[in-house]
């Protein structure tokens, strides 16, 4: 299975790297966007993959907490798919950014210039939540792996699952708020968090269904869940159709009607059909996200398709590589008998350490809130609540892992880890606090130019003439004879005919470059001012001739 997965993934991934390359080098212009709808397929792909990641946590953590019996049969697959899907999901917002390398501006720490992120923005919530979710998921997977070898770690799994359970719901609620807090008519709705969570779990269950089929096993409960979620999603789609008149028949066919095939027992027995049903569900949910993010009908480019293929390919490759690695280091995890025997273990719940960790998390969240409100009082503190829980969950998860490390090795090792982690955090924070040396220089190829049509005002030009030119040329455009006679040979009279025959361009060039005894004025007057001066000079000549100034 791993090899086929890897080959399939590479076939999709390698060509799609060109799409990623052009998405990063050309920027958002390379995929379908307009000056009105600024979010495109990368955001839809992000929502899709983060949804798939949630299902992994559903099966590994939520079902564990709820004490579902068949949970252990899919837990490993689900956890691995969470990590792989999360990695894929996290890459899409980075591709989406206009300046991807500056993503660190979203990290909610202060800097030396007293610039703080806007904690009101759902994107900051999103950034923090996904970072925390990824970290905690990795820790949870490691805990699960080590608990196979070391039975004493088993008692930490349930406390950890209790941290992860609300975190998943929180993360996807925040993803839905990315849309629901905006003023885009199609994205509004208080039902969005639930809608997104159900959609995410539906697609995630479908993914797990496919993975289960591919590993030649059968978990009937997953198929049942698929049917159940299809009805839940039907309710939301009907609601959307009712409230917003958004109507997608293709979603109803592939997302709702096709899963109903599983009611027919003869059909349900065929493994290919079960996989196809799951694929149809995933495809329809991906299409739903596309329709949600981009209601406008824009012309897709090849990059849009390339990014979708990148998602699938990167997931398959990451999943296969993770499995290959695990097989090498934790071969027991793939042994059905070992896993079955593990289930018989007596599982206790580390109550005291759990509450200590929760306390650590609460303290960290409170400290963050105080720090932020103290330093950036301009932002409304209430809107900070969405980031507080993930921060608390991160610290609680880390503290629980430290307890586990102390149990696995020695207390000293755990303290070392804590110190190293603190040093690392402080170092990263310090780097962010210092910031980079921003050079906001402009490209040399920029055309610096004058705009003769606008120029400077007549008043300003007259003042400039009096300051710069009148010493020789006189205030009225006649020569300042007294001065010129003394030092220079007498220049030409600047009559109207002469000025007109020379032309604006060449005269302004004389002003800038100088000629004979006239000194160059470049640097002291701008190009625009030179033009304005020549026009002023002409108006003086017109006056002298007795005509009206045009």
């Amino acid at each position: 299975m791993n090899r086929n997965f890897l080959i399939f993934g590479l076939v999709l991934l390698l060509p799609s790297l060109f799409a990623v390359d052009s998405a990063l080098s050309i920027g958002p212009a390379s995929w379908a966007l307009s000056q009105e709808s600024f979010w495109g397929t990368p955001i839809a792909d992000f929502v899709f993959w983060i949804g798939l990641a949630h299902a992994g946590t559903l099966f590994s953590a939520i079902l564990l907490v709820l004490g579902v019996r068949w949970q252990h049969r899919v837990a490993f697959l689900a956890e691995l798919s969470t990590i792989a899907a999360l990695g894929v999901a996290a890459s899409f917002p980075l591709i989406h950014l206009g300046i991807p390398e500056a993503f660190y501006n979203m990290i909610p720490v202060g800097n030396a210039r007293s610039m703080y992120v806007n904690v009101e923005s759902p994107l900051v919530w999103d950034f923090v939540a996904i970072f925390v979710y990824g970290t905690v998921s990795v820790l949870y997977l490691l805990l699960h792996l080590f608990s196979i070898r070391n039975a004493s770690l088993e008692k930490y799994r349930r406390p950890f699952a209790w941290i992860l359970f609300p975190l998943v719901l929180w993360v996807h609620t925040i993803v839905s708020l990315d849309f629901a807090v905006t003023f885009v008519p199609g994205w509004q709705g208080a039902y969005f968090p639930l809608y997104f969570i159900f959609g995410a779990l539906f697609s995630g269950v479908a993914l797990v269904q496919i993975l289960v089929e591919l590993s030649h096993r059968r978990v009937r409960a997953v198929e049942d869940l698929l049917i159940a979620f299809s009805w839940a999603l039907l309710a939301f789609w009907m609601w959307e159709a009712n409230v917003k008149a958004v109507w997608h028949p293709e979603l109803l066919i592939f997302g709702f009607l096709v899963p109903q095939l599983l009611w027919i027992s003869k059909v349900r027995e065929i493994s290919v059909v079960r996989a196809l049903v799951a694929i149809s569900v995933m495809a329809s949910l991906w299409w739903e996200r596309i329709g949600l993010v981009q209601p406008e009908n824009l012309d897709w480019t090849w990059v849009d398709l390339g990014l979708a293929s990148f998602g699938i390919g990167a997931f398959c490759v990451a999943f296969a590589l993770l499995r290959i690695l695990l097989k090498k280091f934790f071969p027991q995890a793939f042994d059905e008998d070992v896993m079955e025997s593990l289930r018989e273990r007596v599982v206790s719940f580390e109550r005291k350490k759990f509450w200590i960790s929760v306390g650590v998390g609460t303290f960290a969240a409170g400290a963050f809130a105080v720090y932020f409100i103290w330093n950036a009082p301009a932002f409304p503190g209430v809107r900070m609540i969405p980031v507080l829980f993930p921060i608390g969950a991160l610290c609680a998860g880390i503290s629980l892992s430290l307890f586990a490390i102390a149990e696995l090795w020695k207390t000293r090792v755990a303290v070392m880890c804590a110190v190293l982690l603190a040093v690392f955090a402080v170092a990263v924070g310090g780097l962010l606090y210092r910031g980079t040396d921003v050079s906001y220089t402009e490209s040399l190829t920029t055309v610096e130019s004058v705009n003769p049509a606008l120029g400077t005002s007549k008043q300003a030009t007259a003042e400039l003439w009096n300051a710069r030119c009148a010493a020789c040329h006189g205030k009225d455009g006649n020569l300042n004879r007294k001065f010129v006679h003394e030092f220079y040979p007498l220049p030409q009279t600047l009559s109207l005919e002469r000025l007109d025959s020379l032309g604006l361009d060449s005269l302004s060039k004389v002003v800038l470059e100088g000629r004979n005894y006239m000194r160059p004025f470049r640097g002291r007057v701008t190009d625009a001012e030179a033009f304005a001066l020549v026009r002023y000079m002409r108006s003086l000549a017109v006056q002298k001739k007795g005509g009206a100034v045009p």
Partner: protein
């Protein structure tokens, strides 16, 4: 390991040859021995042409609703300055001089043919159905709420400003602006020679950054500094944004909504004040005048 002299020399020559070949490579990042290209004066008619093109892209005017007179900015309740504009639609004949003046004042770039086909113009001031539409500088601005980095931020003078070096291009502000007044730099216009630095006081925006009407903040700051040098308190007088200065009918009135003697307040007295329907509830500072109240 022993190396004979002949093979050592061969190795050395080979290395030098390889290194010098490496030095001859084509490299974009290496400095080019070229003189800075100072092109001739850019033809303003190109900018004018693009404005006329963009007119066809948005043929419908914004639908307007009546709003109360703009007042105190909700984020700065103690300020005595709330800058804003009123555009008199009874006087406006949509000649487009404001749009051109805006582009020239703020170094707004043109876009290439491909971008133009997709309608991705950069115009800060658009003529939608002949009606000049720009950022309304809302008091309760949706864009400022969702910007993650704080690049879109309210100025204490009561308008909405942009910090370009802080912007990372999430485009959330643009997605959340009901008026679609924000423009994203999809391409590097300077690199394509489509940008011109008409005004040295305004930076050219790099690719990947959002931009929008700044109420000609450079002019406002100059006026403030000038007032300060004379020891005066600046309350928004003695300055005009480029569009207001260019309007031949004086249909664009600029001023301080909180200064009862300002042009803006005097000329809008007794007039019907309207705002685009989509943003009317966000306390806009740029409004439209039409008929009598």
């Amino acid at each position: 390991m022993k190396i004979s002299r002949a093979s050592f020399l061969k190795l050395l020559t080979g290395t030098f040859a390889a290194l010098s070949l490496f030095g001859c490579r084509r490299e974009k990042s290496l400095p080019k021995n070229e003189h800075r290209e100072v092109s001739s004066k850019p033809d303003l008619s190109l900018w004018q042409k693009e404005i006329d093109e963009a007119r066809f892209a948005t043929p419908r005017p914004e639908s307007l609703v009546m709003v109360p007179r703009p007042g105190i900015h909700p984020k700065f309740p103690d300020a005595d300055v709330r800058l804003g504009m009123a555009i008199d639609l009874d006087l406006c004949d949509s000649c487009g001089k404001c749009a051109l003046a805006c582009m020239v004042e703020n170094n707004v770039p043109r876009v290439n043919a491909d971008e133009a086909r997709k309608g991705r113009y950069m115009h800060w001031l658009e003529l939608r159905g002949g009606m000049p539409v720009m950022c309304a500088h809302c008091g309760d601005a949706p864009c400022e709420k969702v910007c993650p980095t704080g690049a879109a931020v309210a100025s204490p003078d009561g308008f909405s400003s942009m910090v370009y070096p802080r912007c990372i291009g999430t485009r959330f502000c643009g997605a959340n602006c009901p008026l679609h007044a924000r423009k994203f730099n999809y391409t590097d216009a300077a690199e394509q020679g489509l940008a011109a630095k008409f005004n040295p006081e305004v930076p050219l925006r790099p690719q990947g950054v959002m931009e929008k009407c700044s109420l000609c903040i450079q002019r406002l700051q100059n006026a403030r500094i000038q007032a300060k040098t004379f020891g005066l308190e600046w309350r928004g007088s003695g300055v005009l944004p480029a569009c207001a200065a260019a309007c031949p009918k004086h249909a664009i009135i600029f001023g301080n909504w909180l200064d009862l003697n300002s042009d803006l307040v005097r000329k809008t007295r007794g007039r019907g004040i309207y705002a685009p329907k989509s943003i009317a509830k966000f306390l806009p500072a740029v409004v439209y005048l039409r008929g009598k109240a």
